[in-house]
Symmetry: C2
Subunit: 139 residues, 2 copies
DNA sequence: TACTTTAATCAGAGAATCTGACTAGAACAA
DNA sequence: TTGTTCTAGTCAGATTCTCTGATTAAAGTA
């Protein structure tokens, strides 16, 4: 079986479950919004960087950040180092979703480790981490 | 780093590259269409099955199959075993894209193997294959 | 200062996706 | 056999996501 599909399936499973857990906990957010939100750094991130990291156009990133802002999950503040730019920052409200997502992720990892074993899980992570070096356009 | 994202990044890299190669070769097809097309079995597959495998609604699958049909990549034939159902089958035209996709996939795998080594590549494949058992709703 | 590049937004359109309602055939129970 | 229920697929309508192209304002540069 094609390794692209082999990667895609568990990748989507993770996305679906984490999103479901976060939504279940009362946070109204979509997958596309989450993908952008996930990339916002601790000190704020520029729209252009978010777009690049999430591999969408600036317009798309802007559209999603607008919604996240309206929902109160991010705020835009001026970038002191560049008058053209603004930094997108996550709000306290969004921070509250982090433990929910982390808990679900931990559950998933535990299930996976249960199924494939601790050794394979470590190997998987190592291989993926290395692949990120050549496949992550942001890294 | 989150294993969901770690899976997502190379998964998308594969999708992007294979789609680009296929489009480059003159096949006009989108990512969403390709995801459905990829799931059509050798003897034809029902719309409902395609929808389930690709994890979209029947309506969405139908919408995409309509487009694939218009473009000549699939055809719908009556299902002899069920008067309500029809089987979606890939046409010869679509079959011609297979070697193009395979060649690009082979290139990607070679690059990856070059970067992470043969052993890790085999371990990766093994781990992913096992994960499919618990994360692929279609399997 | 004038030119070029960059960060972000505006405007408009197209693609992908969904929910809800419907039709026709199949399966099943009385 | 005859209803009743279930299943495969479609129709209608709306929303969400995404893109291309053009514009504005600030920064960098010759």
């Amino acid at each position: 079986m094609n390794i692209g599909l082999l990667l895609f399936i568990p990748s989507r499973a993770v996305e679906n479950r984490i999103l479901a857990a976060v939504v279940e906990a009362g946070f109204e957010i979509t997958q596309a919004q989450a993908r952008v939100l996930m990339r916002v750094g601790p000190d704020g991130t520029r729209l252009t960087e978010l777009a690049e990291a999430a591999q969408v156009t600036k317009q798309t990133a802007g559209f999603l950040v607008d919604q996240l802002e309206k929902a109160g999950y991010v705020e835009r503040v001026p970038d002191p180092s560049d008058g053209r730019a603004r930094l997108v920052r996550v709000t306290d409200k969004a921070q509250e979703a982090v433990p929910v997502a982390d808990a679900e992720m931990a559950r998933i990892e535990a299930e996976w480790e249960q199924h494939i074993g601790k050794r394979r899980m470590a190997q998987l992570r190592e291989a993926l981490d290395m692949l990120g070096e050549i496949t992550d356009p942001y890294r």
